[in-house]
Symmetry: C2
Subunit: 221 residues, 2 copies
């Protein structure tokens, strides 16, 4: 599998100075799972102390906290660390992207489309997601349009992500396993969940406008 | 300026079978301007016959009709005609893209990022924009969230468009003139107008939710 000294596909991808992963796959994934579990638990417990929050509100707060910190920290690191694949220190975030690149070598290869989408996601999506946690917690009137905006951006990003890969030959995974586990599996949440949230917020927004129209009609009468 | 038989930058861009523009620049632009003028005039006149439409509503209908047909016809042609630069028939839409490629050769060069963004724009943005004309005309409750969705997608698309160009060296214009006239100038409307519409629809949506909250409070009392 090794060519040019790296495990990625296509084998002729040029990555001078590549340093292999020093953490194991299970190590990388379990650290991610642990922090996700911790964050979601804390958000769930904290949100339970807020008045008048439904379970759906609390689940949404967990999602926005999780996706927000993933965008900011994990994806933010990728955007501003173009040479992560040369990292010798075993720094966790570099290890994450060395590992994920087995599912999509365009990360290590610094594909412009990937960096653009990840840049927009990290810089706008990250802070906006954390703002969504606050907006739900405090019942802001912009809560739905904000959640809709981020979800739609996530869907657009995933769209560009997959379409560019298909157009460029879809040969960026080191094996079928990595293709399905990382390239498809790890991204699936960012298709399914934003789609559900976007549809939900769309419906609530329509209902708010319908309510407004009816109030106007009542006033006219 | 000519190398590899084409007028585009970078000069080593490989475009076998390239056929030069047969229409002049003024010819191409005046046809576009004529159809735009016709469409906007017709939309303006037609919308004037609808009851209770403000001038802003009517201007928005003109914009959505214009941007919708541009997405569907002009950008739709690009997405599904990968070999437009070989066109020998002088077909207008092929001429448009041969000419525009002087401002951004990634169109002729079939850059994957460009095709992805244009594909999403043509397939989703085009029909959605025409739906926005209908939604404004008939005062649908989804009018604002739809306009917001399309505007945000347009902004995201323009973001990917410029960021990928910057990351890849920003050397895709045949001259400074084409850079500013086509690459910057022709796209400027799709930054300024979506930004204005997105902010406007965001505000209306917040107002609708605020109104809903107040109605609830009144009911509780």
């Amino acid at each position: 599998m090794v060519s040019e000294g790296h495990p990625y596909s296509p084998r002729d991808l040029h990555l001078p100075g590549y340093v292999p992963c020093s953490l194991s796959q299970s190590n990388i994934l379990s650290v991610f799972a642990f922090f996700t579990f911790l964050l979601v638990s804390l958000t769930w417990i904290f949100s339970g102390r807020l008045p008048k929050k439904t379970k759906t509100d609390r689940l949404l707060m967990c999602w926005w906290a999780f996706t927000g910190l993933t965008h900011l920290i994990v994806e933010g690191y990728f955007v501003f660390a173009p040479e992560f694949y040369k990292d010798k220190t075993g720094f966790y975030l570099a290890e994450v992207w060395k590992e994920y690149s087995k599912g999509d070598s365009r990360y290590a290869g610094r594909d412009a489309g990937i960096v653009s989408v990840e840049g927009l996601t990290a810089v706008f999506g990250g802070p906006a997601s954390l703002l969504a946690v606050y907006a739900i917690a405090t019942g802001k009137s912009y809560s739905h349009i904000l959640q809709f905006a981020i979800s739609l951006s996530q869907l657009y990003g995933v769209g560009v992500y997959y379409i560019t890969a298909l157009l460029e030959g879809d040969n960026f995974a080191a094996s079928k396993l990595y293709y399905y586990a990382y390239y498809i599996g790890a991204n699936a949440s960012w298709i399914v969940i934003p789609l559900i949230i976007a549809i939900r917020s769309w419906k609530y927004t329509c209902a708010a406008f319908k309510g407004q129209d009816q109030t106007k009609k009542h006033k006219v009468r």
